[in-house]
Symmetry: C2
Subunit: 209 residues, 2 copies
């Protein structure tokens, strides 16, 4: 059986990215299967997503808590991205004025079918102009900063995520809920629910947003 | 102000370890602070835990979905571990007969104050003899295997985790709840609750086990 074309999920990583910000969506997308059960997770035969990390350069990234991750791709060799995930963490702050990052986000977002952020990753989206005149959210500690970066953003201070074409999620763990929302949109409630059951994740059935 | 002595959390990693199995507890322990708020997370001044990964050898580990992690320590250079975390994933299966792993788990568990597992990490604990005559749980897909590895284990098929001195958690995302349980035991409900709020994690207030 030929492998179906998979949707490419590219997750930006950088020094001081928050570990759960990127690993939550990484887990949800990389463990989603169109065939139910444990065994389908042993291979990628029914995996609708191809998930990878991408960073500016080909050197290990030191995430929060000093977890060291080697990116799958760099900006130079990155394949086209269908779903862009921009996570947050304290490492977003120095990047707000890093034009390599913000212009890459702007260009990648334009070519992608979905652009998403987790936590303070929304600040990078705002700086890249991606949230102009959109409703958006972020970590509760960054809501004010988000509004200050682009006065046209309608900052939403409740719910797990806001979907206004661009999908921004609330703090850290809310990225898991955001990812399940995308899975549900693209593959239906049953696939999302079964993947949540595989992850033993209760938040999906209790979803609020 | 001198830095307080921190509790060392050592998380075992290996090829095909499940990403959220290790990153969930990593996040909870590494983001816990005794001082509330966002700013306290910028430094480790009020961090009660020092969290690191450990692997057999000093080479990058390829986790589920091909996430590449460089371990902080190897078995050779690992400092004493106070809280041992053994995550799961498909990579546990070949390790069940790897004596370097099971004897390291047995010895490290004996020296640690707490031994914990996430998901099918419980199978490795069972093989190391750590769950003998204890109540324990694991991912719903591994419950039968857990009982088959040591007939003296009372296998529990409900709840987010089972605390019978050794703390075993249910599938994948339940490792987050297990970590909050330890934080609560060691530092009280307020520190656990405030850290859950920092992570925007709703599961702690809704805890079941």
């Amino acid at each position: 059986m030929p492998q179906p074309l998979r949707t490419r999920v590219g997750i930006l990583i950088f020094d001081d990215v928050d570990v759960l910000d990127f690993s939550g969506p990484f887990e949800v997308f990389s463990r989603t299967r169109l065939v139910a059960g444990v065994d389908s997770r042993r291979t990628e035969a029914s995996a609708p997503y191809e998930v990878f990390t991408v960073a500016v350069e080909a050197r290990p990234i030191v995430a929060s808590g000093r977890l060291e991750i080697t990116p799958t791709h760099t900006f130079e060799d990155c394949p086209p991205i269908d779903i862009l995930v921009v996570p947050g963490g304290f490492g977003t702050r120095p990047l707000l004025d890093d034009e390599r990052i913000t212009s890459w986000i702007a260009a990648t977002s334009k070519a992608a079918t979905r652009t998403t952020s987790v936590c303070s990753g929304a600040l990078l989206l705002a700086r890249a102009g991606v949230l102009h005149e959109k409703r958006a959210t972020t970590h509760w500690g960054a809501l004010e900063t988000l509004g200050s970066l682009d006065a046209t953003i309608e900052v939403i201070d409740e719910g797990r995520f806001v979907d206004d074409q661009v999908v921004t999620s609330a703090g850290i763990s809310a990225g898991i809920d955001m990812a399940f929302h995308i899975v549900e949109q693209q593959h239906g409630v049953e696939v999302a629910r079964e993947t949540a059951r595989y992850l033993d994740y209760r938040g999906y059935e209790r979803r609020e947003s």
